[in-house]
Chain length 449, copies 2
Amino acid sequence: MDRHEKTPADFLITCVDHVITCDDTFQVFSPGAIAVHQGTIVAVGTPCELHQRYEAKETVTLSGHIVLPGLVNTHVHGAMSLFRGLADDLPLDRWLHEHIFPAESRHVQPDFVFLGTLLSCTEMLLGGTTCFCDGYFFEEAAAQAADLCGIRAVLGQGILDFPTPDAPDPKAVRHRIQAFLENFPRTSARLRPSLFCHAPYTCSPETLQWAKAVCTDRGMLFQIHVSETRWEVETIRSRYGTSPVAHLERLGILDDQTLCAHAVWIDDQEIHLLAETGACMAHCVESNLKLASGIAPIPAVLKAGIPVGLGTDGCASNNDLDLFSEMSLTARVHKAVTGNPTVCDARRVLLMATRMGAHAVGWGAATGSLEVGKKADMVALDMERAHLCPLYDPTSHVVYAARASDVRHVWVDGVPVVRDGVLKTVDVPNLLREVRKAAAVIAEGMFFR
Amino acid sequence: MDRHEKTPADFLITCVDHVITCDDTFQVFSPGAIAVHQGTIVAVGTPCELHQRYEAKETVTLSGHIVLPGLVNTHVHGAMSLFRGLADDLPLDRWLHEHIFPAESRHVQPDFVFLGTLLSCTEMLLGGTTCFCDGYFFEEAAAQAADLCGIRAVLGQGILDFPTPDAPDPKAVRHRIQAFLENFPRTSARLRPSLFCHAPYTCSPETLQWAKAVCTDRGMLFQIHVSETRWEVETIRSRYGTSPVAHLERLGILDDQTLCAHAVWIDDQEIHLLAETGACMAHCVESNLKLASGIAPIPAVLKAGIPVGLGTDGCASNNDLDLFSEMSLTARVHKAVTGNPTVCDARRVLLMATRMGAHAVGWGAATGSLEVGKKADMVALDMERAHLCPLYDPTSHVVYAARASDVRHVWVDGVPVVRDGVLKTVDVPNLLREVRKAAAVIAEGMFFR
């Protein structure tokens, strides 16, 4: 009989081979346990310690597993999963003007955004991503999809000075933003609105400053694509006489509530500006490689102390939403670029996919690590697989060997959204049928190679 | 009732959404079917056509699937899967001298090679690889493991002018090779012996020429690591006054029965020499990135007409044997390096992983494409997954979105070695237990970071 009275907990995850906390000191409990109450982590430690302290309504025994924080995808265009593999291996201008833009102008409506985002959330949850930061049009519909799936999200309403699917008249974009903010679902604390100015070359200084002011006023994340291509850098230089990052800094856009996606072509001065202002970065290595944009100088960015998360970008340029392959690639490619096999080590890369990413999208206080007081956003990887055997170092395995398909259980806010590899919140076979119907309409009339 | 008498077949795979043949004209049948008799493909075509022509003992209906040729891994050190994740993120010299070499000298024995190769074959078959080209020590034991698993293989016995686990006295290496060739199991036509000279800097000109002569004499593939690092290029230049490839060419080593692994640091003259001699290449992009070796100039190599296959290298530097991630990365990274999004397109990369790879390892007449007369080495991918939906182009999906875990069925020589994701030739849970026991011994006494 226990000498002390036990504290109640909703559930206890225990006998986990390795619990990787991703906390400040990168504690790993081998074996480990986690106690969760009312959606929040109340304890992380060894199984014996937690069994002595907690009386749990449910106990989940996970020997043969690694448990880590839910992954954070810091840059997604969820609805674009409906364009997955529609056009590859093309020059950027043909890809955009002959395929993506025509497809968007024909098909992007709230139903499209809802369906595409639902597909993306399904793929992300099944692959261990519990939080994502989105940017597209009709983002109220994206929010509804995220709400339904049970994922955590930042939903960024897209802004351009050109006609868009949900603001055909660019002059009306401020009304559109107002409507977005009014319509944004208030049903879930897991969802937060955001504004996403497309890029410095598609948004005027006035648009950028206005949108940033709205974000600051409402405590929202401001998102923008920055320096994705060399062409963009040249365009901004010829238009404003400075680099894209310096241009944003002059406009007062950069602070710790600003997320810069891509930032492939940034120089030392721009890295310094980002670090000084506290701005964050979303690194999208697979998309940047596939579109031949280039490779962001991540080792230098990390050295400067800039918070960097990982992002898949949209499925049209990836072609999946798999953060395990993003981790594997991020840990490898910068080694070859710098000629230094010690940069972007497994631990650093896992932090990018979890704690640093959560911080970058403004959810750092609630998710990104397994710590007391944070929401129980957790992933269990099944290690009983040939490609994960033997195991000498669990962090190495997560980054260099594990796959999205090794994800067996996922919790968001302590809710088991994925159990035994099955998503509980969505009827996946039915979803895939609906997606195929939509894809048939998209394919009709497209010019195929 | 049919008007013509039907031809008998052992089995018919039919109603496949897409059969990607990887033949000369890159035919894709949508829907498609394949008839197999006595381990050999006797017909590929539409389901209606094949149902009219063949009377099959068994019919396998695969709607919702893509069927493609079994993948070919052109560069593996199978036994090294026992060192998976043992040491990462280290400078090459510390990785080799403090971790890999000590572990090898302590542990590499026939039992070790058998167990590690069995683990590797298990991972490869489950991930759609039906043929691999290996290089290590005690390769008779590797051959036994490959035989047991039912995979197709080239087993390259390692040769160095330094003490090795199976030839502690380098002077005795020729006896060792003789013993290897005598002991090589003759039980299966799926297995072929080969010699693997480690590198131009670890093998003298005499050793290289002797080993190549043995290979030529017996019609065997000759394998060698070439120009993996800048250090190697400088070493060979200072020792022999020329580049590694030119050095090999001068020695008469290069012909269409020679496979050069890595070839990261090769210049235009070396590309010309490789093309002229008919030598083949194994491109190991994940390993080259992880060890910070560099990025081979594959678009130029392909343009020169050099047959290039994909290789994972050993698990100590990868850390898996997944050709799907190698395809995805090969198709992406060269786009960013060259700034050209049209290089290494999906079709070309899939050919590298199949037909070109089979040619490179000397198995081109028997495998690498789904064509009449070739062995029935085939993989069925289950497309009923969120990350593979929708589908506009099956080849794009295989390269940019599919994962090893999407492999559902695998046939080698027409034998169903993987069915419903389960390997029929190996007791996998028991294998993993044995591997963990071996790993515990390896871990004991190792210095961990």
